[in-house]
């Protein structure tokens, strides 16, 4: 059983994301790229499959800042192989379509029964990587997965998906299959720093250069901007004590707390 995990570097939304007013593009200098959270869950799900079935786990990302560390971390967590796809291009908030084509080409050379990746990234303006890749490769695709249970005997997998509101649905698919992971069955494991350093020194990360893939974008991102502030909240100001006191008064007026 060969499992491939595709990890994408995205700007950390917990930090400031600035737009350059002149160009209408993201200020590259202020971007802190981190592995997309659901991709971390995709890796965890792959490692769980490895532990259960002895599968091989190959983790792939591109040469954006932090991509190498993401791969060392994946190796430290237990991934079998790590591939760094060299593109030599900076981060763009609209490259998923191109990435799908690059990975489709790459997967011609890598055995894959299951391809796992995050279900929906915060920059998927032109669609999700997993679904676009599945369309490229002509493979079936299941999204918002919270559990993937492959069966080597029948060469199929049972996939549980999260519909929201406490409802889940379960699908069965023949392999190979591309899965968009929402959340892994258990939280992503922790990789100790020393093991990440060891993975770095082991030189187990392989770089692969891909030829530029002809890609004709069908849509044009005309401008990026900060959300236009609407009416918004009534802001309560003062010391924490004053604000807490004022808030409790408001809650009392609304009969949410007693007098």
């Amino acid at each position: 059983m060969d499992v491939v995990v595709l990890m994408k570097m995205v700007p950390d939304a917990a930090q400031k994301i600035e737009v350059d007013a002149a160009s209408g593009q993201l200020k590259a200098s202020t971007l802190n790229l981190i592995p997309f959270e659901s991709d971390e869950h995709a890796l965890e799900e792959a490692l769980l499959i490895k532990e259960r079935t002895g599968a091989t786990v190959t983790v792939v990302t591109t040469d954006l800042p932090g991509g190498d560390v993401a791969l060392w971390t994946a190796l430290a967590k237990g991934a079998t192989h790590a591939l760094l796809v060299t593109r030599g291009r900076p981060y763009e908030p609209r490259s998923t379509g191109e990435l799908a084509r690059i990975y489709a080409k790459l997967l011609e050379t890598i055995p894959h029964d299951l391809v796992l990746t995050g279900a929906q990234a915060p920059d998927d303006v032109e669609g999700e990587l997993g679904a676009l890749l599945a369309a490229q490769l002509g493979l079936p695709y299941i999204s918002v997965a919270v559990a993937v249970r492959p069966d080597e005997g029948t060469h199929s997998a049972e996939v549980t998906t999260e519909l929201g509101g406490g409802l889940r649905s379960v699908y069965e698919s023949a392999l190979p299959l591309v899965v968009g992971i929402q959340t892994s069955e258990t939280p992503p494991r922790y990789a100790p720093f020393l093991q990440i350093r060891a993975a770095q020194r082991s030189k187990r990360t392989r770089s692969v250069a891909v030829e530029p893939v002809p890609f004709d974008p069908k849509v044009e991102v005309v401008a990026l901007h900060k959300p236009v502030a609407g009416k918004g909240a009534t802001m309560l100001e003062g010391s924490p004590e004053e604000v807490a006191g004022r808030l409790v008064e408001i809650l009392a007026e609304k009969e949410l707390v007693g007098g």
Binding site: E37, V125, E126, G127, A131, G164, S169, Y171, Q182
Partner: protein
């Protein structure tokens, strides 16, 4: 003349709110383009559902047993046949968890322009313009698509569902299912409900909802203490905390979790990603506390406090202890 299509999102055979929201969006777009609005219905028995889509000028339907549940492979093969036979100008698909990925599968298979994560869609002349919301609501974009058919994936909660809840008999064009449905590789097996052994947050009057700002699992007890000062209250959370295993999935508010409408929703250290907002925006009173004055959550809250929740929560608890809990 090409139409505006809206794909009906169905859950257990019933159109979801999102279906009606998109019909509202589709109507405005169809008016601008001076073309008819059609609902696309993929199901096992289209005749039963079509009249509930009466806000549209017509329904394009395909019936097949494999289309009963939102099986992405079956639905994409069905949609592709409809797009090939009756290409529209625009196809709107809602981003529900059940349909996530479908716009990409369809657009990817035919090389069609796709604009995803949209909060609005308009026509500028012949050009279709989408306004996606990115990076947890921190950035918005303006994206133009030429040619077509253009596929637009629209976020839930972007349009009002109410105008589109029209029940009437509408003309139905039936499209024969493709043979490809018989050779599909993905099969729906069953629904599974999340075990409800925990408190049901959809029935609470007050939710003390925590996000990344809580910083550590140990700090959750501070929120629990705060919750104890209200009647019929519980601690809920945004997705990252549940994904970390700090709280059970039954406590998650948002698209993948629960949709809640408590009398008071106290959003503590939650930035307000669109997926979270979807699940709580109908709460009666929303109070947000966040260190970032530009956090998107303040756009949806009635009252806002810029503060570190670890400093603020004990102060609030102190003030609440002077009062009696009254929410019953």
């Amino acid at each position: 003349m090409a139409d505006v299509y809206v794909l009906a999102d169905l859950e257990r055979g019933r159109p979801t709110d999102l279906t009606f929201e998109l019909l509202t969006a589709g109507r405005a777009l169809a008016s601008d383009l001076h073309v008819p609005l059609k609902a696309v219905l993929l199901t096992n028995e289209a005749g039963l559902i079509a009249p509930s889509l009466g806000f549209a000028d017509g329904v394009v339907a395909m019936s097949h047993s494999s289309l009963e549940h939102r099986n992405l492979e079956a639905w994409s093969r069905a949609l592709l046949k409809i797009l090939d036979e009756k290409p529209p100008k625009v196809l709107l698909i809602g981003i529900s968890n059940g349909l996530l990925g479908l716009p990409s599968l369809v657009a990817g298979a035919r090389g069609l322009p796709l604009i995803s994560l949209c909060r609005s869609v308009t026509a500028h002349g012949e050009e279709i313009v989408g306004d996606p919301v990115l990076f947890g609501g921190k950035i918005e974009a303006e994206v133009h698509a030429k040619g077509g058919p253009v596929v637009v994936a629209v976020r839930p909660g972007s349009y009002s569902a109410e105008p589109a809840r029209v029940q009437r008999t509408v003309p139905v064009e039936n499209v024969e299912p493709p043979e490809a449905l018989e050779t599909r590789r993905v099969h729906f097996k069953r629904y599974a409900d999340l075990e409800q052994t925990d408190v049901d947050i959809t029935h609470c009057d007050v939710l003390i909802s925590i996000g990344r700002g809580i910083q550590s699992q140990e700090n959750i007890r501070i929120a629990e203490e705060l919750s104890g000062l209200f009647r019929n209250a519980a601690v809920s959370s945004s997705r990252p905390l549940v994904d970390q295993g700090w709280l059970p999935r039954t406590r998650q508010v948002g698209r993948s979790g629960m949709t809640v409408k408590p009398r008071l929703y106290l959003a503590l250290g939650i930035s307000g990603a669109p997926e979270h907002i979807e699940g709580m925006k109908s709460s009666e009173t929303i109070v947000a506390v966040n260190t970032d004055p530009k956090a998107p959550v303040f756009e949806y809250a009635h009252y806002g406090v810029v503060a570190d929740i670890l400093t603020f929560m004990p102060r609030l608890a102190e003030q609440l202890r002077k009062r009696k809990p009254v929410v019953a």
